[in-house]
Symmetry: C2
Subunit: 335 residues, 2 copies
């Protein structure tokens, strides 16, 4: 057992702006054997999420920051290869917060066993994982989307955005996505069934929103913040709900976050803007997983993963998120 | 009847920044006799409200803008002096949107008869008028304030703010006001029973909020926007409610509204920010009026009006709002 070397990305410094190579140290240490009620996971996929950028900052947030010198926090999925835990025998497929490392010891806290006969392992980091839960509860609970609503989602071709749009369609909403690039936009409409997609990199987003949402926006699900949030606020319908899920355009801002100048549209339209953190919905994950599992099986919901291979590529792979290069859920495949 | 001359302030130009004298024309025209189902009101008090600044701008809002050349829209109260309307006989005391003029013809739409034996006429523009309704429904309905909550209100010594704070105290909340100047702050604590008041003109608002709200802010009722909103957002408690009632610091901005940079605190704290327009609560005004009338009678609620005399002084009197010179409800007394 001690022969196994575990490579890990540890946080070396708190980044200013985009994380750079020197913000990480790649460490190799021997794997310890599981103690009682512990098990060892060989990580096969690491989930790469915009939220990770926030965890690298100092200061109060919804989870404590990753400490300097600690293994970078990340979701992941893999297989149990050694176990002294009755609930997680060797051979179990599992998902949990395993960190950016090849092997993870766990006591089972926050870890789920998953059934790869029902869906492939990556799907448990996507539609059936935190990504899917975020989209589901953000759209239906915080956003209170209902049949006939016009739903606009930013970061529409990203992990959460693709699920938000599809679930909104399933629920009978009119769905408009905002994404970067013509190829992504075509894919959203042609493959995922969005009613329209707006390429923010070319053309006038405000004009396009006005055209595609003639009655205004009932639910705006925001993953990006910045200018796009401001434009969306200017197009709200009465009693609109704005779901603040993320703000990827702002996470690397070195000169302070841009606040939404059009926030008074909330007053004019008696609208609300509400933040969400998916962990709050843990007691209801089962409810969402059952419904989304069914939709997957029925072919109503598509899970799309964008898989980058090679543990070493982590620092650059993470940046794909901030460069808008991924389509669907970005995963790092190990080994 | 035709002998009566009616003086009116009409909007001459759309102001840039603070309204100036040349944005108004003072017009005198003879009063027309009421037709069938009309009555004539001699206006005794004109309500001066921050919202009036918004009505002077072009463009979509929650009510149409006042047109150039039109009598300026304003709430008011007075006495019916001629009538062909069975519901509003001569001698009735009334409140409604009479505009900035000495006499107003009305068909009764949106006009209420008021009983000056129960409360003096100005109170029907303050605690028992739109001001009070705004405070009541904003705090209790949009803000969902409940016993034990920490409530912070900005513009605390203004018309709405004084009522928000008092109602919050009656409902068992801890109440902290933010106002400009030591005198106002003393008055809020000593006379109105606020638990604390923070003078934003002297000292560090963030530090003071942290001190007076050690568990964070549960309900933030915002009348001012700008820097104060941003600071309040940084001090939210989990599941906080931010009520967007107004943004007086921004109404005269010539370089665009300052958006709240700390809006991501909504995400971290699973909080919501929601706008309100009091007119939506019209079907429930009676409910609030009954409860607040009782509190007034019991001496639990104080109505404070800041009365400026002289119709001619309107253009400058209005500016007192934006200079933060009023304490309580600002009214213009005519005649």
């Amino acid at each position: 057992m001690n022969a196994i070397a575990n490579r890990q990305f540890r946080l070396a410094a708190r980044p200013i702006g985009l994380p750079k190579a020197s913000d990480w140290t790649l460490v190799e240490e021997p794997v310890r054997e599981p103690g009682d009620n512990e098990f060892l996971v060989r990580v096969e996929y690491v989930s790469l999420d915009p939220a990770m950028r926030g965890w690298m900052n100092e200061g109060k947030s919804y989870v404590p920051p990753v400490g300097i010198g600690e293994v970078m926090r990340a979701g992941g999925a893999g297989e149990v290869i050694a176990s002294k835990h009755p609930g997680f025998p060797v051979g179990s497929k599992v998902a949990g917060l395993f960190g950016v490392q090849e092997y993870a010891l766990s006591n089972g806290k926050g870890v789920q066993r998953v059934d790869t006969a029902l869906a492939p392992l990556p799907t448990y980091l996507g539609v059936l994982g935190m990504t899917g839960m975020t989209a589901y509860f953000g759209l239906l609970d915080v956003g209170a989307a209902k049949e006939g609503d016009t739903v606009v989602v930013s970061g529409a071709a990203g992990a959460v955005g693709t699920v938000v749009g599809q679930v909104a369609k399933i629920k009978g909403c009119r769905v408009v996505g905002i994404a970067g690039g013509a190829a992504k936009c075509r894919w959203l409409v042609d493959e995922l069934g969005f009613d329209a997609a707006i390429d923010y990199k070319s053309g006038d987003v405000r004009k396009a929103l006005r055209e595609h949402c003639p009655k205004g926006i009932d639910v705006y699900f925001d993953n990006v913040g910045g200018e796009i949030l401001d434009i969306a606020l200017s197009q709200l319908a009465m009693h609109a709900r704005v779901v603040i899920c993320g703000a990827i355009s702002q996470y690397n801002a070195t000169e302070g976050v841009k606040g939404p100048s059009n926030y008074l549209s909330l007053l004019v339209n008696r609208a609300r803007m509400q933040g969400m953190v998916v962990f709050d919905y843990a007691p209801r994950y089962g409810e969402a997983a059952r419904e989304m599992g069914l939709w997957l099986a029925q072919g109503k919901l598509t899970s799309r993963e964008d898989i980058v291979a090679g543990f070493d590529t982590f620092p650059d792979a993470l940046l794909k998120l901030f460069r808008g290069e991924n389509t669907g859920k970005l995963l790092l495949k190990i080994g």
